[in-house]
Symmetry: C2
């Protein structure tokens, strides 16, 4: 009878698991309130190993944020793929609905965008916005008014989601949500 060996993973696999856990924690509690101990526990490893894998809490946060930014970009880019003009914008509007399915990722993004100290986070947040706006402008070819409307309603939806008004609505918030979705669709 072979001695029951503990399953060991590659460092790469562990990194992904830690990034998953970190994304949840940072999205829920924000950078400062999230603790590395909690993240390590959620990822199923020791705190010591977390630091071996990522160096510092800040580096872990940056890595998690960057991964979500890349995923966000890819969802929009995939939606626009092979389309142009109004059709592309409409597809990206639909992509927004898909993105909002995963609260966690979007909440991490919002937390990053509203982090006013921590220049590193601001840097990658601004980079993310620059690339997203550029993508939407390029693929849709629409004028600034339309592109702006698209992002404006996206922001309203995101904030309403942060207030939990998507899952637990009130009469007034239903009106805003509905009108916001319609406005995003009508961009195209």
């Amino acid at each position: 009878m072979t001695p029951h060996t503990v399953p060991r993973q590659t460092a790469g696999e562990r990194r992904q698991a830690v990034l998953d856990a970190a994304t949840s924690e940072f999205a829920l509690k924000g950078y400062h309130a999230a603790s590395t101990e909690e993240i390590a526990r959620a990822a199923g490893i020791s705190q010591a190993y977390l630091f071996r894998l990522f160096g510092s809490k800040k580096d872990l946060h940056v890595a998690a944020a960057q991964r979500s930014i890349d995923e966000l970009y890819r969802v929009f880019a995939a939606a626009a793929e092979g389309r142009s003009g109004e059709e592309a914008l409409e597809a990206m509007g639909a992509a927004y609905a898909e993105i909002m399915q995963d609260r966690t990722r979007l909440m991490l993004m919002l937390k990053c965008w509203t982090t006013t100290d921590e220049p590193e986070i601001r840097r990658i947040s601004r980079g993310a916005w620059r690339e997203l706006v550029d993508l939407v402008e390029r693929t849709s070819g629409e004028p600034p008014e339309v592109v702006t409307r698209f992002f404006a309603h996206g922001m309203l939806l995101t904030v309403l989601m942060a207030l939990d008004l998507v899952d637990d609505p009130e009469p007034w918030s239903r009106r805003l949500l509905e009108a916001s979705w319609k406005a995003i669709e009508e961009c195209g």
Copy 2:
């Protein structure tokens, strides 16, 4: 020769000074990263006295947030005062410009809206939104599409401000800012 008396203030005055300092700190660093010691120093009192005045960090945060919420509401209400319909909405759009003059207050609001743990903060954030939306709907009498557009562009402006794109813009962000202001004006 009278012994050089230290100027004493009423507790009420001190409370205002502490709320000012707390608003700045919480707006810049967020609830968890802000420290009561720093706030006390900025307000010119000891940490011990801060706790005598406000009981706990959380209570201080709630008090500071509530004060900013009330001020925000009053600015909009004053703008709409004696007006109705499109005129009222236009005046509230102009009020938004005034509100954005004071970054601090608005950043505290945004931080509150994106605080997903801490149920108390979520409660007062939702209350603030409910009252603001109600005010705009009531005084303008506009349909949900228009009211929603008003708040959507307001949110975009607020997020762009958090990213410091108002004071330190980039080409793409100028386009969004300009279009957003125009859209808010055109609501009326």
